[in-house]
């Protein structure tokens, strides 16, 4: 479980996050939704340690990530997988080498065991025949799947996805959503997904956090969304704008 307590973040004199308190449970897709510029990506980057919040704590199963010594922060980071918006695959490595990268850096497997693990991860995301291809040779949807395979290669405990559907067609988007949902359930990972795609919310979102102007505006289950939106103009405007 990941727990955020009073997280604040600002850049120069502009505050971006205001007293964020939230809990993200394992085994279910936790979605953070909100308009662009609302603070979703900053929050996600604070959670994975790319930004340091000014105050508050981010607890990974009781370990305060913000105040841990650097060596222990790196230990926690090795339990984290992240799917970036632009996939962030290493251009100079093949698909297979991208998935192998965390295994080679931190795993204690033999080359044969690594090979098996790579093939397992790639087949789990539905990419059996792309091992030797370079990121530039595969489609956007395939890149996302390689990104997911790399993120789960080290038997990740926490998975973060920043806009996993951006730039994908509706069918591929749906496949990525299903894949994230299944992997979260199967490996009991604490998955946090940043999205502004309401279809994703209704398809796989179980715990929803709506961020508006750097504040948590609403939290709840997706089944409660429709009942709540009538009393929450900002949330209603966001959902209505999605034409869903």
């Amino acid at each position: 479980m990941i727990e955020l307590v009073n997280v604040n973040k600002s850049f120069a004199d502009k505050q971006v996050l205001f007293d964020i308190n939230a809990k993200f449970e394992p085994g279910i897709p936790n979605l953070i939704i909100g308009a662009s510029g609302g603070g979703k990506s900053v929050l996600l980057k604070c959670m994975v340690g790319l930004f340091k919040p000014e105050s508050g704590s981010i607890n990974y199963d009781g370990r305060d990530f913000v105040h841990l010594p650097y060596e222990q922060v790196r230990e926690v980071r090795r339990e984290i997988g992240m799917l970036f918006q632009g996939t962030a695959l290493f251009d100079s490595l093949t698909v297979e080498e991208n998935v192998d990268f965390p295994l080679k850096m931190f795993g204690k497997m033999t080359p044969e065991e690594r090979k098996d693990r790579i093939n397992f991860c790639l087949s789990r995301v539905g990419l059996e025949n792309a091992n030797k291809k370079y990121p530039a040779e595969i489609s956007g949807g395939m890149k996302k799947r390689v990104g997911i395979a790399r993120a789960i290669a080290l038997e990740t405990r926490y998975l973060f996805c920043d806009e996993p559907n951006s730039g994908l067609d509706p069918i591929t988007s749906r496949r990525i959503d299903e894949l994230l949902h299944d992997i979260t359930n199967e490996f009991k990972i604490t998955t946090v997904i940043n999205s502004h795609d309401m279809k994703t919310v209704y398809d796989i979102g179980e715990s929803i956090t709506f961020i508006y102007q750097g504040k948590i505006w609403w939290q709840g289950h997706r089944n409660e969304l429709d009942a709540t939106r009538a009393h929450n103009p900002e949330l209603n405007a966001f959902i209505a704008a999605s034409q869903f």
Binding site: K45, L50, M82, F84, F101
Partner: protein
């Protein structure tokens, strides 16, 4: 002035952050060998062309200026070999390498920054500055002095070739002039310069790439900045080394 101190402080902190124990020595070793190939083997062609021509032109221009019949022609060999060892081979070669290697490193690292590949390394718990920068610095510090040794040899060879082709003097006369006043210390100065310049080129270019912000345009600007700043620092270091060692 504030920006200068900010950049200087950030550069020093960045260089310090690179010197960490590698996560996996095998991966680090592979990356270093890969960079040695890129920096060293990949630059042999341009270093060969530049060195031969600089040596040849220096010989012809020295001969043009030595008009007195009292000065023996073999002095040209002395002047060309000493100036090649002391100045032309390390400085001109490294200025060219700042353009070739420096721009390449800055655009590679800058592209990794804007496509979030560096963020991906950080999220995995990898010291990204050390992982990307240290193999480049080690490879540069090993391979650039090797290139300078080749450049020294080729500049003198270029001088001999030019003297022979223009019937200025015989190769023996040139070599005699070069050997008469040869001091091993000039090689020490040449190697000291090449080590310092190698560090400047690789660290400054990695630094510029690492702190790129924006997109493709900024990656190009980082490449340009890496080259210009490396060149200025090389010339500055050249002066300091000359003052301290000679």
């Amino acid at each position: 002035m504030n920006k200068l101190f900010f950049e200087l402080g950030r550069y020093i902190l960045f260089v310090r952050s690179m010197f960490f124990k590698p996560e996996r020595f095998k991966v680090f070793f592979e990356r270093t060998i890969h960079e040695m190939n890129n920096i060293g083997v990949g630059s042999i062609g341009i270093v060969t062309i530049i060195s031969v021509f600089v040596g040849a032109v220096t010989t012809l221009q020295t001969a043009y200026q030595l008009v007195s019949p009292l000065i023996p022609m073999k002095v040209i060999g002395t002047i060309v070999s000493d100036s090649s060892l002391l100045e032309f081979a390390p400085t001109i070669t490294c200025l060219v390498l700042a353009g070739k290697v420096g721009a390449n490193i800055a655009s590679e690292v800058g592209n990794m920054r804007v496509t979030e590949q560096i963020d991906a390394l950080e999220v995995m718990g990898i010291n990204s500055s050390g992982f990307l920068g240290l193999p480049k610095i080690i490879a540069g510090v090993i391979m650039i002095p090797c290139l300078i040794i080749v450049a020294n040899f080729l500049m003198i060879s270029g001088g001999i070739l030019a003297a022979r082709l223009t019937d200025l003097m015989s190769p023996n006369e040139f070599i005699q002039g070069a050997r008469e006043t040869f001091k091993m210390f000039t090689v020490t100065v040449s190697m000291t310069k090449s080590l310092v310049f190698a560090f400047i080129i690789t660290s400054m270019s990695t630094y510029e790439g690492y702190f790129t912000e924006g997109g493709a345009l900024e990656v190009g600007e980082a490449g340009t900045r890496a080259v210009t700043r490396s060149c200025v620092l090389i010339l500055f270091a050249d002066f300091i080394i000359a003052k301290l060692m000679l």
